[in-house]
Amino acid sequence: MSLFQYDFMIRALVGALVIGLAAPALGVYLVQRRMSLIGDGVGHVALTGVGVGLLLDQSPVLTAVIVAAVAAVAIELIRERGRTSGDVALAMLFYGGIAGGVMLVGLSGSRSNANLMAYLFGSLTTTSPEDLVVIVVLAAVVLTTMVALRPALFAICHDEEYARVSGLPVRALNLLLAVTTAVTVTIAMRAVGLLLISALMVVPVATAQLVTRGFLGTMLAAMGLGLLASGSGVWLAGTANTALGATIVILAIALFLVVSVGVAVRRALARRRAVPGPEPHVEPCDVVLDSARRTTPDAAPTAGPVPVDLETPHRTAVRR
């Protein structure tokens, strides 16, 4: 294939693949704690970091990591308070971040418009070998952390109070997730752009959980899907000459639609094919309906011998 005879295409492919692997590994935790859009918010603020970098003639990636990490920690501290006003505070942070970024990039010089588009929507093909090294190293760190700390991170995302009573360093782990989000957003900025990052964190997870049963399964499947979407995205973008970030995201969403339809079709077929088999083992009902008991007092619909007291006057069926 002639597409990959150019070095910059090889670099684009490597960058896209490592980000496609790392972003869903983090995203599975964010989706689990219902913070799917946090990546989007941090992405908005990272643009201010890019603006600061361009203005001060520093590496925009470096300043973006710093500003995004500060913002992610601030968001986490607001979330921890659990107040409704946190919602408004987040909105301020997001829109302030993107507005500040656009202003600062504008102040920084004439080449700003092309730059702005590169950061907002990605430009992996202009990645230098040095950039690629930074992306690969940081992605490896993100991936290792997310995989190695899975039991603890799962515990705080699944039941934060229980994790606290288990003596886990809940706040430290939450801040770790926040900073990791900032790092992932900033490295993925070169591939899919700040406005499309969340898609790469969330869409593969959403696709995976259509078919998986457990958390580890979802995580691994999402990483596989992220790899597939970014790899085929680079090929398709190179062949059809489309924007790389947008192509990757469209492919990820297409995968979601295909899997959704596949699952729906399989369910429909299974329902049609279903024949009344042996009675499945049913968990005993929490409540015994009054009407059921009145007609068949000796055959309570339970699996085991359940002591039923028919004389208690105040028994009512209560749904819990």
């Binding site: 039991p151 799962f154 229980y162 009573v165 959980q209 039923v308």
Partner: protein, 286 residues
């Protein structure tokens, strides 16, 4: 199903975090010495609205204490403040003789919340949830080992969910989800079990199995603190009842004598579907 295992044996020493035999904590007052939990003049207020008004309580090893009370009496707040989930406005809590702020041996406590966390779209298997119970012993960085897997399998067997280990928790019934949470607490092999309404919404077969498991836990020297609005099959296991009423302790001692129909000999106290505000355990009070 595997044969019944006694998972209430204490963790073998050195398996994971060794349990210190002689803890060298600062000198303590007489109140905390040898106790599992003490609360001294505990006050909790939500937005200046007092929920607990100067509650004092001491629980010794081997006790099985039920905190009873009407809804909104502050009974859940009491155990949440003991665990540090709700801050005290005044007063002090100690756990195993250590002031709660400095307490670090959380593996000695197994907590069973009222229900499974709100959950999310990401599925999790029963075994994955129960495995969280090992973190207090193992810590954040150590990957799960053979001891952890064995403890998870035993805990699942003890609550009768061994065959559901690989199923997503979302597909379980309410009673089975509650049993999953109990298994999670047992997997850590704690010395003190703290349960928030463990039998609310649990079918009576699960309640009986749970009472049996609790009895084994107590026989092996475990201490239990549980919140309940009704004791049901647990009544025989409870050694002491604390009744919370409007933020203060109204009764502390023997389990209040049930009256009327409840006092009939052989009455088994199973009301799996009794309404939340039913006539209380303590004297037919509504």
């Amino acid at each position: 199903m595997t044969e019944p295992v006694n998972l209430f044996q204490p963790e073998p020493r050195g398996a994971h975090t060794p349990r210190p035999t002689s803890r060298s904590v600062e000198p303590q007052g007489e109140v905390e010495k040898g106790s599992v939990v003490t609360v001294q003049h505990g006050v909790v207020a939500y937005d200046d609205r007092p929920v607990l008004r100067g509650v004092s309580l001491r629980i010794d090893p081997g006790e099985v204490v039920a905190v009873l009370g009407a809804n909104g009496s502050g009974k859940s707040t009491l155990i949440r403040s003991i665990l540090g989930l709700v801050p005290l406005a005044a007063g002090a809590v100690t756990l195993f003789g250590t002031p709660q702020r400095r307490f670090r041996q959380w593996a000695r406590i197994g907590y069973v919340p009222q229900r499974m966390g709100a959950g999310s779209g990401v599925p999790a298997t029963v075994a994955e949830v129960v495995a969280s119970g090992r973190l207090a012993r193992r810590g954040v960085f150590r990957p799960p080992g053979r001891v952890d897997r064995a403890a998870v399998a035993e805990a699942l067997a003890a609550v009768g969910l061994a065959d559901r280990a690989g199923d997503p928790v979302a597909t379980l019934s309410g009673g089975q989800q509650q049993r999953t949470l109990i298994a999670r607490a047992l997997a850590g092999r704690p010395e003190l079990l703290v349960l928030d309404e463990p039998t609310a919404g649990v079918d009576s077969a699960s309640q009986d199995a749970f009472a049996e498991a609790l009895r084994g836990f107590v026989t092996d020297g475990g201490t239990v603190l549980l919140v309940a609005h009704e004791l049901g099959p647990l009544a025989g296991v409870i050694s002491r009842a604390v009744v919370v009423h409007e933020g203060t302790i109204a009764h502390d001692g023997a389990v209040p004598e049930p009256v009327g129909h409840h006092a009939a000999p052989g009455h088994d106290h199973v009301h799996p579907h009794a309404p939340e505000e039913s006539t209380g355990m303590w004297g037919g009070r509504a």
